[in-house]
């Protein structure tokens, strides 16, 4: 079973252009135009890559500013760097809730 957010992150990281975009953003925030400069691809293609990165939680984009500069989001990146630990955390958190759920439904039964 996949760790849902993690699998999106990995899909986003699988592409070399997107990794290059992240490397550029590690130096500071940048607009679509600035990001497109080093690549032989259209602005539209860069925008598409940014959308994937944003959905994966790897970047954030300013909502109001006209040029909508992008910047790196650290947390998703750290999760991806340590995916095995993240996978374990997914299970541990789920099982914490499983324990709680089992306790609750048994309490309900005893009160019936």
């Amino acid at each position: 079973m996949t760790v849902d957010q993690l699998s999106t992150t990995f899909a986003a990281l699988a592409d070399p252009t997107r990794r290059a975009i992240l490397a550029r953003l590690a130096e500071g925030e940048a607009t679509v135009n600035q990001l497109a400069e080093p690549f032989p691809i259209t602005l539209q293609a860069v925008s598409k890559h940014l959308k994937v990165l944003e959905r994966a939680g790897l970047i954030a984009r300013a909502r109001n500013a006209q040029l909508r500069p992008s910047r790196l989001q650290g947390e998703a990146l750290k999760d991806a760097a340590d995916w095995l630990a993240e996978y374990r955390r997914f299970w541990e958190e789920s099982f914490d809730r499983l324990e709680e759920h089992l306790r609750e439904i048994q309490k309900g039964r005893k009160n019936d």
């Binding site: 079973m1 996949t2 760790v3 849902d4 957010q5 993690l6 699998s7 999106t8 990995f10 899909a11 990281l13 699988a14 070399p16 990794r19 992240l22 490397a23 590690a26 959905r55 790196l72 650290g74 990146l77 750290k78 991806a80 760097a81 095995l84 996978y87 374990r88 997914f90 299970w91 541990e92 958190e93 789920s94 099982f95 809730r97 499983l98 324990e99 709680e100 759920h101 089992l102 306790r103 439904i105 048994q106």
Partner: protein
């Protein structure tokens, strides 16, 4: 298996204050599963209608989480390989559409005889040589470096 595949393994053992039949239900009935599965705490919604569980060998296991903010859907899909009620489940998750080269989750429920159940969950994740090379030279390398840069700020 060729030498191209290696496996990463995670095993988690818990003793639950509940009889085995109840724990089995929690794993095999959607109304129960949605109460504990996944990243509910992190802004994802999982209604019972988004869970498909044909708990029989060859049956489908499918869970679709929906993001509270932007409605993005995230699906986990697998096939039941073994179903031994109420003690053992094996779910195969194919590589297709996933970030790994296939994963297998094995659930074992042991009745401790005093109303408690020992639950052992083992997930084995296949990665290929290529994935590992990528991880060593490319992806993980650049990801680690980026993480370092962020931490040093």
């Amino acid at each position: 298996m060729t030498e191209a595949a290696t496996a990463q393994e995670i095993t988690i053992t818990r003793v639950l204050e509940a009889p085995r039949e109840l724990v089995w239900k929690a794993w095999t009935e959607p109304e129960h599963l949605v109460r504990w599965w996944g990243t509910g705490a992190r802004g994802w919604t999982l209604p019972p209608s988004a869970v498909t569980m044909e708990v029989t060998p060859g049956g489908t296991f499918r869970v679709t989480l929906t993001n509270d903010e932007d409605g993005t859907e995230m699906t986990t899909e697998g096939v039941y390989r073994e179903v031994v009620e109420p003690e053992r489940l094996v779910i195969d998750e194919p590589a297709e559409g996933a970030w790994h080269e296939g994963a297998v989750t094995e659930l074992a429920l042991n009745d401790l005889g005093d109303g408690r159940t020992e639950m052992v969950v083992k997930t084995t994740i296949q990665t290929t040589d290529e994935m590992r090379r990528n991880a060593e030279t490319g992806m993980a390398g650049s990801v680690d470096r980026l993480a370092e840069i962020l931490e040093s700020r």
